[in-house]
Symmetry: C2
Subunit: 442 residues, 2 copies
């Protein structure tokens, strides 16, 4: 066997697995179980912050902003003014602004197709049934400050909410030391965000969930954030809805010998540059491709501004899995359930149809994941950490809810009633049975 | 003003509010904020149980079943045999079994209409976009033991999963002291549940999430349970998907003078008999109706087997809200966001169309909520505790997930690529930009 996997321990280079090796099941199971996140113990601190905001309102938010963001705010300056938003948008580079507009338009076009249909029908008994979809009334979008403050994320969260018909979209973005990201403000403008507050952390989540004198509460909170934000979202869940708690990002590239190794290496590094805990996996039936990709990764890393981050991710969490055929890889992909799946192979579409678990699939050599991150139109908020087994990327339905509708005529109640009475009695719920029988004069 | 509200303090009778009173905003806010659940501190106990099952597998589950259910199980008897299931179904009363079949068929017919459509389209640039829905591979359904062991809940959870195409449906139901509910087993048979285990509590949730030698893990866990089950579901969330954490049930009846007070009283009590923490609310523009309903509740309570429970619920959490017109009630209903909403009024359908927040709406005098609980066809697993503001009842989509799909041709990548490159660079993610530019030879 040429190019035998080197079985490097994690930390020295990407993990390399061979599906034909006798220890493959155990090593693949270890890959599945790999923990990439260090869970910070922030629950107690977050509980105190949330409680303080519930009790103290605006003043508590202002106090925490002074403490964490080194900002002196007042109830009047919590909200970013329309003038500031416009000025920020005006200060942005024209080409970037045009790109944001392209992204906005394409996200809007894609998500408009997700608007669900109401249903109403009358069955043979004369019972009218159905459901109606309505938008959540008010949504809060959390946007991190600092280096992870991405205008593309503003669009990906706000545009689907707008398409769903959310009447009030509120954004919270911290501005540590007063530093604002003009592109984030510009994206908020483009997406139709109604209110922007310069607050962050658990205090922002608490303010959005419980409201203060200045900030009216919302019904659902979405968007990425650090460990404090994630813990705060978990804590306010129930009082408001929340989206998924996202983990570090990941890509799996499924490629045959037709793939360009430099392009694949670029895609693996695009994932790896997000975070040292990001994960890039190559699955291939071509050993020469694997070798060439490894070399290309090493070469491209040298000139990458974020090479420290990308290199650490690739060394610690990168993986190459050798398979005899791409068809053999399908159950492996389903078990890994990657957030992003690129298929670069002759029969990409046929392979894609056989895969069940993936957040998003990028087909063919000319669809790098970065297109989907920015301007494809589909959403870049996708299920991480194998949760594509049971959950979906963000979409219009996350900003809507369904109310079921039922109507019986006297005749249809007479026809259906006895079965309901029988089940109510069988369950020991006589008042249930009586609420039907009293209408049937029995 | 005749029949003035008596403003009873909670615990002595139903709360009575008048929307024309000066203190109404404060009293309505207090009603909204009313806590009905005593939160038990079970997190630490649950953490220990989950950890023990992860470490000890079958034996840990067997040990906890001996401790909590007073049952001596072996790995061989954890699973309920096909013979036992058939025997249980055979022992059920014929009329009840027929009613369960009616319910199953109607739930299946209703939910079949919820199956989502895949989408694929090619836009003007030549980019092909879309999404594909697939079923979750394996689902666990938790069914409580004892008095809250409801066959109707088995159907409401399992039938939508079956309609979604879930290949493996697993049920966990504890049988304390060996007591089984034959109707629960019969419902499992009717719904097409694939495996049934006689285990409960946090140990059952842990076994479903992590798997044991005997029980293969699932991808999502749904179904009601006590505080231990709810805490265990929260704890395993992320490793598997979970449904909502349901609170005590509630109904809001919006009725005008045309309503039959005895029928309305029966509906309020059907809700109240579930749980002392259940809540029944009447909103009406007719004072005579309110008075008659109060009298009818008192009368019907006398002959109700579960009068202790229903009476406590009505006294402690029941409420009557007087409004000048039902139209005026619409914003109040939206703020309460009831799990169940009955509208018994001349213009029920028109009122329903103006309401945004409700789990399910029951229209007209001949549609008691109990029809929806059992045989209407819509789902009885609905959002409680005001969460209808942001979430929906259980449905087929809860057992499916959406994978987005993107495909660029060389030409469409050339057209879209520059915008992606601009945004990647603007966000400081140069590897993102490079993964596009490398394909454009720039």
């Amino acid at each position: 066997m040429t190019n035998a996997p080197d079985n490097s321990p994690s930390g020295i280079g990407p993990l390399e697995l061979d599906s034909a090796a006798t220890d493959f099941p155990a090593r693949f199971a270890a890959l599945l179980a790999m923990k990439r996140e260090v869970s910070e113990e922030v629950d107690q601190a977050v509980a105190r912050i949330v409680q303080a905001v519930v009790a103290g309102g605006d003043q508590a938010v202002i106090d925490f902003s002074r403490q964490f963001d080194r900002l002196d705010l007042t109830p009047e300056t919590l909200r970013v003014s329309e003038g500031e938003l416009d000025a920020a948008a005006g200060a942005c580079d024209g080409e970037t602004l045009a790109a944001l507009k392209t992204a906005r338009d394409r996200i809007e076009a894609y998500h408009s197709r997700q608007l669900p249909k109401d249903e109403r029908f009358t069955d043979a008994l004369g019972v009218t049934l159905g459901w109606r979809w309505t938008a959540v009334a008010a949504v809060g979008i959390y946007v991190p400050g600092g280096t992870a403050s991405y205008p593309s994320s503003v669009l990906m969260n706000a545009v689907p909410a707008k398409v769903a018909g959310v009447a009030r979209i509120v954004m919270a973005v911290p501005t540590p030391d007063g530093a604002v990201n003009p592109l984030v403000f510009a994206a908020a403008r483009l997406a139709g965000v109604d209110e922007v507050y310069r607050i962050g952390g658990a205090q922002a989540v608490a303010a959005l969930a419980y409201g203060t004198d200045t900030i009216r509460p919302v019904d659902k909170i979405v968007g990425p954030g650090n460990a404090y934000v994630a813990a705060a979202k978990r804590r306010v869940f129930g009082r408001v809805g929340i989206d998924m708690i996202a983990g570090p990002s990941e890509v799996l590239v499924l490629a045959d010998g037709s793939a360009n190794p430099e392009w694949i290496a670029a895609d693996l590094l695009a994932q790896a540059e997000h975070d040292t805990a990001a994960q890039s996996i190559l699955v291939t039936d071509d050993r020469a491709l694997a070798t060439a990709v490894k070399a290309a990764v090493a070469g491209q890393l040298k000139t990458l501004p974020r090479r420290e981050i990308a290199g650490a991710s690739w060394r610690n969490f990168g993986a190459i899995i050798h398979v005899a055929s791409l068809a053999e890889a399908i159950p492996l992909v389903d078990r890994l359930a990657p957030e992003h799946l690129e298929i670069v192979a002759a029969d990409a579409d046929a392979l894609a149809r056989r895969i069940r678990n993936a957040g998003a699939i990028f087909l063919g050599g000319h669809t790098p994941e970065a297109i989907g991150d920015y301007v494809g139109g589909s959403n870049h908020v996708l299920p991480t950490a194998r949760s594509a087994r049971f959950s979906s990327g963000l979409g219009v339905l996350d900003f809507m809810k369904r109310t079921s509708i039922l109507h019986c005529t006297p005749d249809s109640l007479a026809a259906l009633g006895p079965a309901a009475i029988a089940l109510g009695r069988a369950e020991g719920l006589d008042a249930h049975a009586r609420s039907v029988s009293i209408r049937l004069n029995r």
